[in-house]
């Protein structure tokens, strides 16, 4: 009861503050600040038609490296905790529908994930959603019971290789242009074509592989890290 009253007061106070503050966010008709530069110069400077990808991978590539590290730490912690404190394991046989679906659907899902990654600089998508889609195909295979248990060592190797490639791509910029993660080491190409936008497709690929292997190893730990 005390907890409810306290919670209600807190929610009401926060709600009042937000209702007072949010209308002051400008109902603007134009873009301000650094977003203006990204929209006006983004395609010329990076060669990427998709400006959100340009911001994520090119202008703020270092932040994305940090984000990948955070995701790595989280997935490593999950796998580590589940390895240290094994839970009771009960793997039930998949039903007919799940078993058949897990044969049919993974290929189209994988194709969608690869499309999202490969066209990150042209259309909505990118390394993070593409990697998540690929990991969900992996999850479907695992739920169908046709997956190979104990492949987490391979997943860890793939993930480490992707992380290393991200760093090496960054250092390529240092060697050639004196700037970490410089997008222009490959030239921008013609914006709108598949091979364009400098390093952006490569970095998207690396991010996609890394996210896919991280989420897959989390799912594999959920499924297979049990008691002995």
């Amino acid at each position: 009861m005390i907890r409810s009253i306290f919670g209600l007061i807190l929610v009401l106070v926060l709600g009042a503050i937000m209702v007072a503050v949010v209308p002051d966010i400008e109902y603007s008709e134009e873009i301000h600040g650094v977003g203006l530069h990204y929209t006006s110069q983004g395609m010329q400077e990076t060669g990427s038609a998709n400006l959100v990808t340009a911001v994520i991978v090119a202008y703020r590539g270092l932040d994305t490296l940090g984000e990948v590290v955070v995701l790595f730490c989280a997935s490593t912690s999950v796998v580590l905790i589940l390895s240290l404190y094994p839970l009771s394991l009960k793997v039930s046989r998949p039903s007919f529908i799940v078993a058949q679906t897990s044969r049919l659907l993974p290929a189209p899902i994988l194709l969608l994930g690869l499309y999202l990654i490969a066209h990150s600089h042209l259309s909505p998508g990118g390394g993070f959603p593409g990697g998540a889609v690929i990991a969900s195909a992996f999850l479907l295979v695992m739920l169908g019971g046709t997956g190979v248990p104990g492949s987490s060592r391979n997943l860890a190797a793939v993930e480490s290789l992707a992380g290393l490639s991200f760093g090496l791509l960054g250092f390529w910029g240092v060697m050639k242009l004196g700037q970490f993660l410089n997008n222009l080491v490959l030239g921008t190409g013609t914006p709108g074509s598949l091979v364009s936008a400098g390093l952006i497709p490569l970095i998207s690929l690396v991010i996609g592989i890394k996210v896919a292997s991280e989420l897959s190893s989390v799912f594999a730990a959920f499924r297979y890290k049990g008691g002995h």
Binding site: S40, L82, F128
Partner: protein, 122 residues
């Protein structure tokens, strides 16, 4: 009508944040607390994207239809979208860690009720 559209999205976002906060403060099942946390997360992401939204403009992707237009007057701001993209991925990582720790904590007490977790008493 356009104004109503614009503010209704902000209202949804604020409502989700407050519902999530209320759930975190009052619910007892630890998985349900994680769910409420996710709701608040979604609300915050909506609000952040909303700050960069300008009605009657296209998404920030160049194609044949936007080539003839001035990009700064035809597109929405790409910056909040890039930030929210980061936020969504990190939110899921945090939720995964939350659930795993919650499962281990509930193993110690044998129930999902947070009143049984004496270490968290206040």
């Amino acid at each position: 009508m356009l104004e109503l559209y614009h503010w209704s999205i902000a209202g949804t976002a604020l409502g989700l944040v407050l519902i999530g906060l209320w759930g975190v403060l009052t619910r007892r099942n630890i998985i349900r607390i994680a769910l409420a946390f996710t709701l608040a997360d979604t609300g915050v992401n909506l609000l952040l994207v909303w700050t960069g939204h300008i009605p009657d403009r296209t998404s920030p992707i160049h194609d044949s239809t936007t080539a003839a237009l001035n990009a700064t007057e035809a597109m929405v701001d790409p910056l909040p979208q890039a930030l929210v993209l980061t936020s969504i991925v990190i939110g899921v990582a945090v939720a995964a860690l939350f659930v795993v720790v919650a499962v281990l904590a509930s193993r110690r007490t044998g129930s999902a009720d947070i009143r049984r977790l004496r270490e968290l008493r206040w």
